[in-house]
Symmetry: C2
Subunit: 327 residues, 2 copies
């Protein structure tokens, strides 16, 4: 591998001059700059980022800590983070927190040992990592303390609930996966806010088939819409409705959350709410870069709006139900 010394001896100048010529700092004649650049190109010279890191005290690498990634949304975040990082000439080192907060801090330690300049943390459900030895930005849990970049889960809940209310639904079931998750609680809070004119709201919890017992009875008692806190949950609900002979959206409207790939694979395609993952990634890296370079922070908590994706699993409230309700 060609290094700066090689170029220097080739051109009969000092390494300092080469460094200055290539980085554009210091004072070097136009002529010299050009010749050095040329030679560097010929040799296919690539500066050693390791050498640079040692001297400069910055590796240009960000650490990304993710929880157990059963949630299909995380990879998309990772993908966009990596895209944005690239464009800023940063690298991303990943670590897995394996579903518990002990491993989470170990993962963080390993990243810090490797000399990352900052940390991006998607925290375990229900935990919020304390202050770290390096600049840190938390992703995606709006209820967390400062230094957080997050989708507006409350706003998203509100958005989709308003959609449902606008279709005339007055009796609604809300189905959540896990009460420990701040994200899910936020979403439900938003839904409740958006449903303030509803006549009957029932909140059920449970995942992977549990807690579905209350669903069918609720519908027979007049509920005309089911709102879930995740597309995966919506799929489960959909299957159960189908088995009970209830059609979507004919008999009951159904909504998800996150706009996962399965939302368009289902039939009818799922009405859901999408996170602007690209923007979350961008803002997160923006914030982190600012912290690293010690710039003043304009706002310490950033919230990115969500977007309603209306598809075919929601429809106007049926007339029959209308009659029942108006009795």
């Amino acid at each position: 591998m060609a290094n700066i010394k090689q170029i220097a001896t080739d051109m009969g100048v000092s390494v300092a001059t080469v460094s200055n010529a290539l980085t554009g700092k210091g004072r070097v004649s136009m002529d010299m700059v050009e010749r050095i650049r040329k030679r560097a190109d010929e040799l296919g010279y690539r500066p050693s980022l390791v050498g640079r890191a040692l001297r400069g005290g910055r590796t240009g690498i960000l650490g990304l800590v993710m929880p157990d990634l059963t949630n299909p949304l995380f990879p998309r975040i990772a993908q966009h983070l990596s895209l944005v990082a690239d464009s800023r000439h940063l690298g991303i080192l990943i670590a897995d927190s394996r579903g518990n907060s002990d491993e989470q801090s170990q993962a963080i330690d390993r990243l810090v040992d490797r000399g990352v300049d900052g940390l991006l943390i998607v925290p375990q459900k229900g935990t919020s990592p304390g202050p770290q030895r390096v600049p840190t930005v938390i992703i995606n849990t709006a209820s967390d303390p400062d230094n957080t970049v997050s989708a507006d889960h409350v706003g998203g809940g509100n958005l989709i609930a308003t959609h449902i209310a606008g279709l005339g639904h007055r009796s609604v079931v809300i189905f959540g996966g896990d009460p420990v998750s701040e994200v899910q609680r936020d979403r439900i809070d938003g839904m409740l806010a958006g449903l303030k004119n509803a006549e009957e709201i029932q909140v059920l919890w449970g995942n992977e088939g549990e807690g579905l017992g209350g669903l069918i009875p609720a519908i027979h008692k007049g509920a005309t819409a089911v709102m879930t806190t995740s597309d995966l949950l919506a799929l489960t609900v959909h299957s159960h409705l189908a088995r009970a002979g209830l059609s979507v959206p004919g008999d009951v409207s159904l909504t998800g959350f996150d706009d996962l790939p399965l939302a368009t694979a289902m039939h009818p395609m799922l009405t859901t709410v999408a996170q602007n993952v690209a923007q979350i990634a961008e803002r997160a890296i923006d914030q982190l870069s600012r912290k690293i370079s010690g710039e003043p922070m304009p706002d310490t908590r950033v919230t990115v709006p969500m977007q309603l994706v209306a598809r075919h699993s929601t429809a106007n409230q049926k007339q029959i139900t209308n009659l029942e309700v108006s009795q």
Copy 2:
């Protein structure tokens, strides 16, 4: 941050002695080793991996190149790779190849510039990256050239086809997403091999709703099972069958591939085939580490068996169909 020099002056010895004491190399008295270790602990000393990398020529970092990750399997691979890497004291730097092979080589360049010791590449569909400047292992495309670690897609296809054949199905539809994908072609090859006693096999291609036109007619002509090359595809097929009034597995058996989270969220739960992602990750990093350290390679291509996950979307062939066939 405490460094080796700090410890050295604290103890009144040279940095070389400290380094030797902490790494266990060179000649240092027991007594000295103990005292140095103690002081290092007190200071919370962590060696600078950057300094070490510069001197040693190895960063201890592996680059992971992933294609556009709409495929929900990739994140699981990434997760396990990160786990295995940890246990070997390696780091993983990620890069996204954004769906085309140009960006893929740029992503590789960036990783190499960062000084990774080796590359793990999950290639774009239909492309196979040529030889690289650093040791490389390709993941998950068995039809690729050497240096590949992959699930046995052919074997997996065979496995699930044998399951279907064993249930008495003789007329089968195979549904693939994208003929460009080597992986999917391998899977289908395996299925065909496992169905050699079948009487009628129809292969259809298409994703996101396309190509489904031929499905219902095929079933009315006597097909009793549909096999797909992906769980996502299976979900789409399932919805279409339901709309046509056909039940799974009552009227027709259905299979997926990969055992994604949605496989258990569906109803009935999907019979599918699972990749042993943990083992793939382990073997991949094993191979790569060997290449990096220049050890002789026992086998250049590694194949990891897949596993049948029989759930409730497959059942014995119906009697009615039996009659039809036996006419």
